[in-house]
């Protein structure tokens, strides 16, 4: 049962990856290049622009992951205890899960742009005189719009994972600690947090891997330069010069390598958590 499924995955995914690796080494038979070289990697690793893009990608993924983890944790702790309207709050909170990132991105654009909803409101109450007075939250140096979009979506993901974990943990441990005289902070710090750590790690690795490798949100909300690596890869891929494909593929291969490393770490942590 497993073999056919695995072979399909290997064939589709593996052959695509193999082709990408080959092309990143300059194997481009459609323009008559069949010798393998490391030129694409050398050009990339030798250019300042590459490191600037890498910096943006790491910044976006790092900040999004950190904030989504903190916020998700806070929300999970809030929604964990029974209160009236809890079910409704939970439902509203999860509402954006099925909405695609692209739609979220357009929403952020309409909300945070210098002529967006917030800017118009600020104009209406006389806070700003013209669009340019509104702070640049989109297409900006600090990628605020991109991070906001990821937070909007990934906080929910993080909170749901944690809520699931909290349900299995139950509250016997905390009650036991309380009986022994632990304060609320001590119960959180020394009991709950260690128990949640495997889920926190696993979910944050997934969020990091996603926001590091995703294309559409940085493309839609990011500044023109430096752009996140997946956007650079897309631009190189659609370059009129077909030879630029080698660089596009080299970026794709490096992104895949980072994801692969993260998957390995994820695998180790989750298996350890299961034990």
């Amino acid at each position: 049962m497993l073999a056919p499924a695995l072979s399909v995955v290997l064939l589709l995914f593996g052959s695509g990856l193999l082709l990408a690796v080959l092309q990143s080494f300059g194997y481009l038979p459609f323009i008559g290049r069949t010798t393998l070289t490391l030129d694409a990697y050398r050009d990339l690793l030798g250019s300042r622009a590459f490191y600037q893009s890498l910096g943006i990608s790491l910044w976006v993924a790092g900040v999004s992951t950190l904030l989504a983890t903190l916020l998700g944790l806070a929300v999970a702790l809030l929604l964990r205890r029974p209160f009236s309207g809890r079910r409704r709050a939970l439902f509203l909170f999860q509402l954006n899960l099925p909405i695609p990132h692209l739609v979220g991105g357009v929403g952020i654009l309409l909300l945070l742009g210098q002529s967006g909803l917030l800017a118009r409101a600020a104009y209406a109450v006389g806070l700003i005189a013209q669009p340019a007075d509104f702070p640049a939250l989109i297409y900006d140096r600090f990628a605020i719009g991109i991070i906001a979009e990821y937070l909007w979506k990934e906080t929910v993901f993080m909170a749901l994972v944690l809520l699931g974990a909290l349900r299995t943990i139950g509250d016997e441990w905390e009650q036991a600690a309380a009986t022994l005289g632990a304060s609320a902070w001590q119960r959180f710090r020394h009991v709950l947090l260690p128990l949640l750590r495997p889920s926190l790690r696993a979910a944050s690795i997934l969020i990091f891997a996603f926001s590091f490798g995703a294309f559409e949100i940085p493309y839609l909300l990011g500044q023109r330069f430096p752009s996140a690596l997946p956007v650079v890869a897309y631009r190189r891929y659609t370059d009129v010069d077909l030879a630029a494909r080698a660089e596009a593929m080299a970026i794709a291969v490096m992104l895949s390598l980072v994801s692969l490393v993260l998957i390995v770490i994820y695998g180790r942590w989750t298996t350890r958590a299961a034990v």
């Binding site: 459609f30 509203l92 509402l95 210098q114 002529s115 340019a132 900006d140 500044q223 009129v240 077909l242």
Partner: protein, 428 residues
């Protein structure tokens, strides 16, 4: 959150309504061409049809589906293609036209290259909307079908001596693509905000410096952005004539720094102090529509009128061209070498050149694209129909548009300037 969701639902609803409105049969399409057409006298038949006639191609095409890859960034164009054109093709020729909108036709070029790599004799694309360096790329890789354009009956209305339709960015079309429309580059401004626009490049530079944050242009390689950069470079380097030959790196290195200097000189005065540029023409249009910048620019001289009509641009929007002259080019339809339905693709290309399609396309209520056919070569009735089209309040008269035309550069020059801009302006 719920409010946001409601907003999205509303947008989706509008999209559905807009699409279905676009699909309703257009009054124009009932005026069907009844006479069977024939290929122009003496035209060589396209490969694979050496012994046949045009009528046989039309017969073969009946019942076929044409997968049409085209830039899908503008709603009125999409509506014209999926509405008017698809309906007429279905009724007149029994052809199903399926539009595949792409953000940049380079994506489809890549798809074709990918198919060729995989050795697929039968591809998935039948027709492409293309010009410039993408045409050059496909010709370079020998992935286009042809020559076919000379055999289309309606090509009789195309002025074959006109270099803007027989050459595509300096590369002869050799009938591997059939002209579909023409473009003249215009600058767009809001007369309520800018009473008297600067009509020279020096004037614009001075205006930009005097009005910080109110001007920008789409980042090359966006087509519209490249057009703007080219005109500034022509001005800064002493004219386009020197670049019309083969690409010359020494000449490039000697002349273009003057252009980068000019672009960097205005950069601090651009929108967002030039720290970033609009990613696409659509992003630029939004900035202009929202009043964040005072100028837009377009390859289509009636786009501003069409946008006023659609309520997207303010009523006070107007256009102008630089005293130095303006860029002109044409856009084309091409058929991939591995297209599964070549006969139907040729019939579609022929239909797109027909007087009725060209006239409908030129109407700003539909699209407002300049005709690829030479109107004076059309039957009198069609010349009258063209003359009756409303010009649109923001569209310049033809004499003004064509007063001084400057050519686009051959693809290698253009690509070098695009890359130079990234290196010397964007990343500096």
């Amino acid at each position: 959150m719920t409010r946001l969701l409601t907003l999205f639902l509303l947008i989706a609803l509008f999209a559905v309504v807009a699409c279905s409105a676009g699909r309703s049969p257009n009054a124009d399409s009932t005026t069907t061409a009844t006479e069977p057409q024939v290929a122009p006298a003496g035209a060589a038949p396209p490969p694979g049809y050496e012994s046949g006639t045009w009528a046989e191609i039309v017969d073969e095409a009946r019942g076929q589906t044409v997968t049409f890859h085209m830039w899908g960034g503008q709603e009125n164009i999409n509506r014209w293609v999926t509405g008017y054109a698809a309906t007429a093709l279905k009724e007149q020729y029994g052809i199903e036209l399926v539009q595949v909108p792409v953000a940049d036709i380079a994506e489809s070029v890549n798809k074709l290259v990918g198919e060729a790599e995989a050795g697929r004799a039968e591809g998935t694309v039948d027709l492409l909307w293309i010009n410039g360096e993408n045409f050059a790329t496909l010709r370079q890789a020998d992935l286009l079908y042809g020559p076919f354009a000379q055999y289309l009956p309606n090509s009789q209305y195309v002025d074959r001596d006109d270099p803007s339709v027989s050459y595509d960015l300096g590369l002869p079309t050799d009938d591997y693509e059939s002209p579909w429309g023409k473009a003249h580059y215009v600058m767009i401004y809001d007369s309520a905000r800018v009473a008297e626009p600067p009509r020279s490049i020096d004037g614009l530079v001075a205006w930009v410096k005097a009005h910080p944050g109110q001007f920008t242009y789409p980042a090359p390689p966006d087509f519209t952005g490249v057009g703007f950069v080219l005109q500034l470079c022509y001005h800064a380097t002493g004219g386009h004539e020197q670049f019309l030959g083969d690409f010359d790196q020494a000449l490039f290195d000697a002349t273009l720094p003057a252009c980068w200097a000019l672009l960097n000189e205005i950069e601090p005065f651009l929108w967002r102090e030039g720290a970033t540029y609009p990613e696409s023409h659509a992003a630029q249009q939004n900035l202009f529509a929202n009043g964040e910048v005072s100028f837009d620019m377009a390859w289509n001289p009636s786009e501003a009128s069409a946008f006023i009509e659609a309520g997207r641009f303010p009523e006070s929007t107007r256009t102008f061209v630089f005293d130095q002259g303006t860029l002109s080019n044409a856009h084309f339809l091409a058929i991939p070498a591995n297209a599964p339905h070549k006969a139907a693709a040729m019939v579609v290309a022929n239909f797109m050149l027909s007087p009725e399609a060209q006239q409908s396309k030129a109407d700003i209520a539909n699209w407002g694209d300049l005709p690829a056919v030479s109107v004076s070569q059309l039957p009198q009735a069609w010349q009258d129909a063209f003359a009756e089209l409303p010009r649109g309040v923001a569209t310049l008269p033809n004499e003004e548009l064509t007063r001084k035309i400057v050519p686009e550069l051959p693809a290698p020059w253009r690509v070098a300037i695009e890359e130079g801009w990234q290196r010397e302006v964007l990343q500096k």
